[in-house]
């Protein structure tokens, strides 16, 4: 409770939360008040903004607002899914290794480091490129999650191994709790605030990663994402045509979400960390 | 002689969320002379830690002054805002050696940077080499290998050295008064002794002029302080010279504290220590009568109904109307 009140008094958090709320509103409110169809042509290609179509049309003559709303939803979906996968995977591996120590820890750490030195973006590009068919939004999210869990694992391992030597863990052991019980009851609760921050960061980087591979043309075939919009804009010469409305709004949205999540993360760090140190 | 510090009928309270007040310090008065070491004894929750905040002028809400004053060289420091107090009182006039001092150093910065911050916070224009020379001189003076220690990170130092560093940094600005708030609890006896020796050296060198030593170990105060104030439930219940309080305590709480001490003098089988049963009263309510009466082994029927005042008994101050 006190923490939440503290958070609400932190300017960084307020800015981040407002921006995040705004993007969420853009993603979910418009369909309620107007009819938007991201697959319906409404006019000529690259129509400049008008009163009817606030942000004009794309190269196929589809309303940009409709495309943006759909793209934003996909991007958020990819980000959250990738964030959940990366956080869960990294946490399980990190906590288990950190708590167990010894050979298991050495093996898991070696494994983590191995994945860590492979540049995940290149792996992502290769993976997406090798899959010609069925590159769905969900699959892309899974790819991203599976290539970015490594630094979560490293950070969590460090935390877990310092918790391991704490007295309450020793007491849990002589209470007869096994590894699973200790990890879930006596280590994870102490990491919750930290994991929440990790999750936010992973979500932000998930959104960015998706945008990058989509912009390169390796994004999902089945949906519209912000990165896809950029890719389309590049491929159909929006830049040389001066159709700024085709690439500028998605760019701004990507920047704003990532910025909002990063700011929320840093402001929370300032508040949670004194507790973590204690 | 005018005292260096004068605490005059000081009462402090915390405001609770629901508009109530917790009277953590109640009607506390004492003086501290130049060169003197005053011991303050009492169990946790007796108001010592709140009193320390008052002595440093740090009344940060929800802590507020009810009445009274804390005067250093005649100036009431409780009239200052916490910011002013931090700038003009902390470190120069009063400095505290924190509880659990070993973990109070930021682990990500070198000792010299931590120490330089203290000097800069009071003298923004001090230049790098002057600061460095000053740190070297001071750290050498307190028996540290200055060059090695200043360049180290706190975690690289052994516990005993870290303790010295904490004390060295808190006294960099030559404060008049050092408050040692249980600097020795949870330390082993040998480290504790070394800490106290260092504090004595600081006094002898004239780096600090007076000290307030707060602990729950009366046996320690026996060797450290010249006078002792015993606190219970926010009040001073006995105030006298160390000899008077320890060997001729007149307040039943003081005696109970002595009785609970384990005086295991190796070589002779120890007297059985007697715990003080029960807990101190909750300070968030109006209290009437003697506050120790419910736990007092010699309480009489009239104790519970009678507010106690400090009065002179046997040349020192006692808060108990039965004491003689």
């Amino acid at each position: 409770m006190k923490l939440i009140r503290h958070l609400l008094r932190t300017p960084g958090f307020l800015v981040g939360a407002t921006l995040l709320g705004l993007t969420l509103a853009i993603a979910f409110l418009p369909p309620l008040v107007m009819s938007l169809d991201a697959y319906q042509r409404v006019g000529l290609a690259y129509l400049p903004p008008t009163a009817e179509h606030w942000l004009g049309t794309d190269h196929l003559g589809i309303d940009m607002v409709a495309l943006l709303v759909a793209g934003l939803r996909s991007s958020l979906y990819v980000g959250f899914l990738a964030g959940i996968i990366a956080t869960t995977l990294g946490t399980l591996i990190g906590v288990y290794g950190g708590y167990k120590g010894g050979l298991i820890d050495d093996l898991l750490t070696a494994c983590t480091n191995l994945f860590l030195v492979i540049p995940s973006l290149i792996v992502l590009i290769l993976l997406s490129g090798s899959l010609q068919e069925g590159r769905s939004l969900t699959l892309i999210a899974v790819f991203i999650g599976c290539t970015t869990w490594t630094w979560t694992a490293r950070a969590v391992r460090a935390q877990a191994s310092s918790l391991r030597s704490r007295d309450h863990v020793a007491l849990a052991r002589i209470n007869g709790y096994g590894t699973l019980g200790i990890v879930f009851l006596h280590i994870l609760p102490y990491l919750l605030s930290y994991l929440f921050m990790v999750f936010i960061l992973q979500t932000a980087s998930g959104i960015l990663s998706e945008s990058v591979i989509s912009m390169l043309g390796l994004g999902p075939y089945d949906s519209i994402s912000l990165g896809n919009l950029l890719n389309q804009a590049i491929r159909n010469e929006a830049l040389s045509d001066g159709a700024w409305w085709a690439f500028f709004p998605p760019m701004v949205l990507i920047t704003v979400i990532a910025f909002a999540l990063y700011v929320i993360n840093t402001s929370m760090e300032g508040i949670f960390n004194p507790r973590l140190r204690k | 002689m005018t005292p260096i510090l004068e605490v005059d009928r000081l009462s402090l309270h915390y405001r609770t969320r629901f508009g109530g007040r917790i009277h953590a310090v109640d009607d506390v008065s004492f003086t501290l002379q130049k060169g003197e070491i005053l011991g303050i004894a009492g169990e946790s929750g007796c108001g010592k830690t709140t009193l320390v905040s008052g002595l440093m002028g740090l009344l940060i809400p929800p802590l507020h002054r009810t009445t009274g004053a804390v005067r250093i060289a005649g100036r009431d420091i409780l009239g200052l805002t916490p910011d002013e107090a931090r700038r003009t009182v902390l470190g120069r006039e009063v400095s505290m050696i924190p509880q659990g001092a070993l973990n109070s150093l930021n682990p990500t910065r070198k000792v010299k940077d931590l120490a330089a911050d203290v000097i800069r916070s009071h003298d923004e224009r001090a230049d790098r080499s002057a600061i460095h020379d000053r740190l070297r001189e001071r750290f050498t003076k307190i028996g540290l290998d200055a060059d090695a220690v200043l360049d180290a990170y706190p975690v690289q130092l052994p516990a005993g050295t870290k303790q010295r560093v904490v004390i060295g940094i808190s006294t960099l600005l030559n404060p008049k008064i050092v408050i040692a708030d249980e600097p020795s609890s949870a330390l082993d006896v040998s480290t504790q002794k070394a800490v106290i020796r260092l504090l004595f050296d600081l006094l002898d060198e004239g780096i600090v002029s007076s000290m307030i030593f707060i602990t729950h170990e009366l046996s320690l105060l026996r060797h450290v302080s010249s006078r002792i104030a015993v606190m219970y439930a926010g009040q001073i219940v006995e105030l006298g010279t160390t000899e008077q309080v320890i060997f001729d305590g007149r307040q039943p709480y003081t005696r109970a504290l002595m009785g609970s001490m384990l005086s295991a003098e190796p070589g002779q089988k120890a007297r059985k220590p007697v715990a003080i049963e029960g807990a101190p009263p909750y300070l968030g309510q109006e209290l009437h009568g003697c506050r120790f009466a419910p736990r007092c082994p010699v309480a009489k029927p009239d104790c519970a109904g009678r507010d106690q005042v400090l009065r002179e008994v046997k040349n020192h101050w006692v808060r108990c109307h039965h004491a003689e």
Binding site: L171, I174, G176 | S44, A159, V189, A270, A275
Partner: protein, 268 residues
């Protein structure tokens, strides 16, 4: 009275931490015995290895070399360590750190029943928790629904002791149980320890940095320094005719009421 049968027997016991040049022996070649129903104190400065040694007796740390027998069998003879912990239990120095801050105290006391292959009925568990609380002078309603940070240090230390009253082990490892509590609560904690000893005929290994305290409670004292046991004997022998300079230093450093301590008079 201590009996003649052995509770613990250690032969050339060592425990090292770190590898290569950073390798350090926390316990170095310790050989000793502890008899049933004996109170033995492990005394030394911080970092002397007393806590690591205690953790080995608790089967929380594995020796790197040497042999440690519990009642004649290697301490890790049973595959399930819970068998050891049903007989050997512990109280720790900092009760706030020893309890999980996210769960109520009562639920954590009840967690001790995890040690038994067949847990007693819900009602019996509640009753045994209540009895244990009363044994340490805490009224059960006083801690109902409370979390560790809501109780005082003295109360929390008694919670650790209540856990022992629930489990009723035959051996207790007490790791500095009084160093974090007020002087006036310390006597109370010691009293409960003695009560446990009388009631359960317990063997107690008492870890402390205060040789005066060790003198007061124990049948025998081991003095530790840099991982080695430098002296062992009865309290009178160790305190009256210490053979090791380490012991003499420890004795010298206790602030006593009647003896010169720091070599200068209190200032006037």
């Amino acid at each position: 009275m201590p009996s003649d049968s052995l509770c613990f027997e250690a032969n050339h016991l060592s425990r090292a931490f770190g590898h290569g040049r950073r390798r350090r022996l926390a316990v170095n070649d310790a050989t000793f015995t502890i008899r049933e129903r004996e109170i033995v104190s492990l005394v030394g400065q911080s970092g002397c290895g007393k806590t690591v040694l205690a953790k080995m007796l608790l089967r929380l740390e594995k020796p790197t070399s040497g042999q440690l027998l519990f009642r004649g069998r290697p301490i890790d003879a049973a595959a399930d360590p819970r068998e050891h912990w049903r007989q050997v239990q512990a109280v720790f120095q900092d009760p706030y750190a020893a309890f999980n801050q996210f769960f109520s105290i009562r639920s954590q006391l009840k967690a001790a029943f995890h040690l038994f292959p067949q847990r007693p009925s819900e009602r019996e568990m509640e009753e045994r928790v209540d009895q244990a609380l009363l044994a340490v002078n805490i009224r059960p309603p006083d801690i109902e629904g409370k979390y560790p940070f809501e109780l005082s240090g003295g109360q929390m230390q008694r919670m650790l002791l209540a856990r022992i009253f629930i489990l009723r082990p035959q051996v207790l490892i007490a790791d500095e149980p009084t160093s974090m509590v007020d002087a006036c609560s310390r006597a109370g904690i010691l009293e409960y320890l003695m009560k446990l000893k009388e009631e359960l005929q317990m063997t107690i290994v008492f870890v402390t940095h205060d040789i005066g305290l060790a003198y007061y409670v124990s049948d025998r004292i081991f003095i530790l320094h840099e991982g080695q046991i430098v002296e062992q004997g009865t309290p009178d022998a160790v305190t009256q005719s210490p053979t090791s300079p380490v012991t003499r230093q420890l004795l010298d450093d206790i602030p006593s009421l009647h003896r010169e301590w720091i070599g200068r008079a209190p200032r006037a």
